[in-house]
Subunit: 143 residues, 2 copies
């Protein structure tokens, strides 16, 4: 029995993910942010002043991962946290000026990584590729 990594979906998926992350990392480094902060920023750019719980519902990582990343974001001056008057356990998470200022540049970085990576596929293929990923993710999260 043999097992060729180039024929293993899991292997390719993992490799591809690291290449995407590495590329994005390089492009956003000048903005003073890192890849793990990206999904959180995306959500906070849509709406801040939310609790960690609310954020967690929008982001596909575990609670502990989010908590740790938020700590680093606070350390890096990207977010601030205020008390929630309605619930002493929860806090409200707010973007700083620094974080709001880089929004468009960050969007552009991500868009350009995506566009360049998918450049090897035709428009139709790109659409299929995205569709396949959404279906696979949908399946895997559910079981």
């Amino acid at each position: 029995m043999n097992f060729e990594k180039e024929n293993s979906a899991g292997y390719l998926v993992n490799h591809m993910a690291r290449l995407f992350a590495k590329e994005l990392q390089q492009r956003i480094a000048p903005l003073g942010i890192v890849v793990g902060q990206f999904p959180i920023l995306l959500q906070l750019w849509l709406k801040d002043g939310v609790t960690q719980k609310e954020l967690l519902g929008k982001i596909d990582v575990e609670q502990a991962t989010l908590a740790n990343t938020l700590n680093r974001m606070e350390r890096d001056g990207l977010i601030k946290r205020t008390k929630n008057p309605a619930d002493a356990r929860a806090q409200m998470i707010w973007l700083t000026e620094k974080a709001t200022a880089i929004r468009n540049s960050a969007y552009e970085s991500a868009q350009s990584v995506n566009a360049e990576a998918l450049q090897v596929l035709s428009e139709t293929e790109q659409a299929h590729f995205m569709d396949y990923m959404r279906r696979i993710i949908g399946k895997m999260r559910s079981d």
Copy 2:
């Protein structure tokens, strides 16, 4: 300007990779191995008694990552290292009995993860999906 993560290839790729890893992790845990060791084992099952350099050439991680993972594999009794008589800097890496014994079970675990994940795609779609990933990876490694 808006940015929907569900429309971002990079986001989906990252999410999918974590789902694959999590799934594989669960299935190989009983074998006494973890996901990061998997690619290295795959290669060593093909051919052991190699130097770290040789291994590195077959595996898509950085040298430091490989060195660290090899240390944990040695700690976990999966590999042993012997001196290379021809070059005192290099060592030869050998699988232990424990590692060779789990080979087929490990293959099966990975195959089943792949098969179940891709189950949501038709045979043709699966082939296209793999092809797309190989093309994207090929593009991204080269620049």
